[in-house]
């Protein structure tokens, strides 16, 4: 039906975005067809938040004696971004194992649209989940100080999610097996615990606390606390004092590494 012409780079870039949006729209139709999966995506972090806040919160000593929810909420926001790693991986691995990726690759669409579409859809999903969790935070008494700080914090959280997108894509393309996701899901909680999301690293054994301080999640969460105007975790190491720049450096580093790896992996599906 269509005649082939050699497209200019501009036309190709335009198609890459247009096709990427079409691929992303597929996820939006999933949400419309099965709204419960989106609802559950919001409910899960809310339940964990309530469990930590009300069940364990009383036993946790927050620096400066602040309310635990004020300390916990930015941690949970960061945790939710971390959970995105496995959801991206599941989506990519499922498409690869069921032949959907091959169908896309055999079609006259922009090849990069497969990855672009995944990135758009997963970021949109994270925005929805984060919005739900912010509402939950407000309901349990968490309060941000300023609007500009709030926007900055949300931006940094989504930046971490953006970085983890590429890690998820790489792992999904590497394994091409939705079953392998369990391994990553199992690791998400320990990685989250080994940070400042739930407790101050100062309360951990020395070397473990140091690892927790250098966890990229800790930088994002610490920067978010600072921008939200919430109580911090009271660390005074170099990485703790430079939370804001590190909340940009870590995601940038992860993005560069895994963007290159996943694009290469995708291109090498034809090997």
């Amino acid at each position: 039906m269509t005649v082939t012409t050699l497209d200019s780079p501009v036309t190709r870039a335009r198609w890459a975005l247009a096709d990427g949006w079409t691929v992303a729209r597929r996820d939006l139709i999933h949400w419309a067809n099965q709204p419960m999966t989106v609802v559950f995506g919001v409910v899960f972090p809310v339940v964990i938040t309530l469990a930590f806040g009300y069940l364990f919160g009383g036993a946790v000593k927050v620096p400066d004696g602040a309310d635990y929810f004020a300390f916990l909420m930015p941690g949970m926001y960061g945790m939710t971004m971390l959970f995105g790693l496995s959801s991206t991986m599941i989506a990519v691995a499922t498409d690869a194992s069921k032949g959907v990726t091959d169908r896309f690759r055999s079609m006259p669409m922009a090849p990069s649209a497969v990855l672009i579409g995944r990135a758009i859809a997963d970021l949109l999903h994270s925005v929805v989940v984060l919005a739900g969790l912010l509402a939950c935070g407000l309901a349990v008494g968490w309060r941000p100080a300023t609007l500009s700080g709030t926007l900055g914090a949300v931006g940094l959280l989504l930046l971490l999610r953006f970085a983890l997108l590429w890690a998820g894509m790489y792992l999904g393309l590497l394994t091409r097996d939705p079953g392998a996701v369990v391994a990553v899901q199992t690791l998400e909680f320990p990685i989250g615990f080994l940070s400042n999301a739930f407790v101050a690293p100062g309360t951990m054994p020395g070397w473990l606390g140091a690892v927790a301080e250098w966890n990229p999640l800790s930088s994002t969460v610490a920067a978010a606390r600072e921008l939200f105007g919430n109580p911090g975790w009271g660390g005074d190491s170099w990485v703790a004092r430079h939370a804001l720049p590190m909340a940009v450096v870590w995601p940038a580093l992860i993005t560069v590494v895994f963007f290159v790896l996943s694009v290469r992996r995708y291109q090498r599906l034809d090997r």
């Binding site: 269509t2 691929v23 069921k98 079609m107 649209a113």
Partner: protein, 312 residues
């Protein structure tokens, strides 16, 4: 003019050769069957021809475009229906086809009308998501998705694997319709009946090489003529019946004690049948069933891939 042309196509993974120099020449508007056991290299060949895999050697053209240097042009001219029904199970049939239409760069209006057309043609007007479809419907949806652009060349990689006989017949009917519209089809299958039913010519593939090629009838005649098959009532009579059939057969006679079958190849079906029946009656051997039949493609296939004579 060739719709698919492959010359010395090779694909190796380290030391292991998945394809070891395959030649194919599929004329426009015909159906070519690639027949072979699991791991013979059929899917590898299809994956190379549909630009999903890079060949390690040789060259291939599809619809006149080189698969390695002009992959985008190739993709505009092919449809691929893979081993899995590669449709989005959470989307309805209509949503799937509209999505694929958009990705083939049809406008929203074109995608909608093309989707409606294909849904009707393949009998897929079911309102729910594709995961509610039967196996046969899902494959037909997959087939419809491969037909969005009405491509001149369609690749079907084991299109009916895992389907029940009724669903298989449905898929076959759809494929025949496409062929009558002039689409060139390259089909891989492990089912010999499928190749027999659909293909104009068959390439038998084993261990990454084409071991035989021809029409289904030509291939069948390669292992000799008709088979005379007698079932005797009394197992005691098996040896004697085998001797009688051996007297008229043009090749070695097979004997199956469990099913009481005696088989042998014969050249002249009617004369051989009469002679054998007369001789059996004279010897007082009662036959439960007597038949003369063409060899099945199964027998051809086993003969070609296991006889040893064809492999280097």
């Amino acid at each position: 003019m060739s719709a698919v042309l492959a010359q010395g196509l090779r694909k190796s993974y380290g030391e292991k050769a998945a394809l070891d120099g395959i030649d194919l020449d599929v004329r426009r508007g015909t159906v070519r069957g690639l027949l072979g056991p699991n791991g013979a290299g059929k899917s590898t060949a299809v994956r190379i021809l549909t630009t999903l895999l890079r060949p390690s050697g040789g060259r291939a053209e599809v619809a006149g475009f080189d698969v390695t240097t002009q992959p985008r042009q190739v993709r505009r001219n092919i449809g691929l229906v893979g081993q899995h029904a590669a449709v989005d199970e959470l989307l309805t049939g209509r949503q799937n086809l509209e999505l694929f239409g958009r990705l083939c760069h049809l406008s929203a209006v074109q995608s909608r009308s093309r989707a409606a057309e294909l849904l009707e043609r393949f009998g897929l007007e079911h309102p729910g998501p594709a995961k509610e479809y039967s196996g046969g419907m899902r494959r037909r949806l997959d087939l419809a998705a491969g037909m969005i652009l009405a491509p001149p060349v369609l690749f079907l990689d084991e299109p009916t694997t895992g389907l029940d006989p009724r669903s298989r017949a449905e898929v076959w009917r759809s494929v025949r319709e496409l062929v009558s519209d002039g689409t060139t089809v390259l089909l891989t299958t492990q089912y010999l009946e499928e190749a027999d039913q659909l293909a104009d010519r068959v390439s038998v593939i084993d261990a990454g090489r084409v071991v035989a090629e021809g029409t289904p009838d030509e291939l069948k005649s390669r292992i000799g003529g008709d088979q005379l098959d007698v079932v005797v009532r009394d197992p005691e009579h098996l040896e004697r019946a085998a001797e009688i059939i051996g007297g008229v057969a043009s090749g070695p006679v097979e004997l199956d004690r469990d099913t009481r079958h005696v088989r042998g190849p014969v050249n002249e079906r009617v004369r051989s049948l009469t002679e054998v029946l007369t001789a059996l009656a004279a010897a007082g051997i009662e036959a439960e069933d007597v038949a003369v039949r063409r060899p099945t493609l199964d027998e051809v296939f086993l003969n070609l891939t296991e006889a040893g004579g064809v492999r280097p």
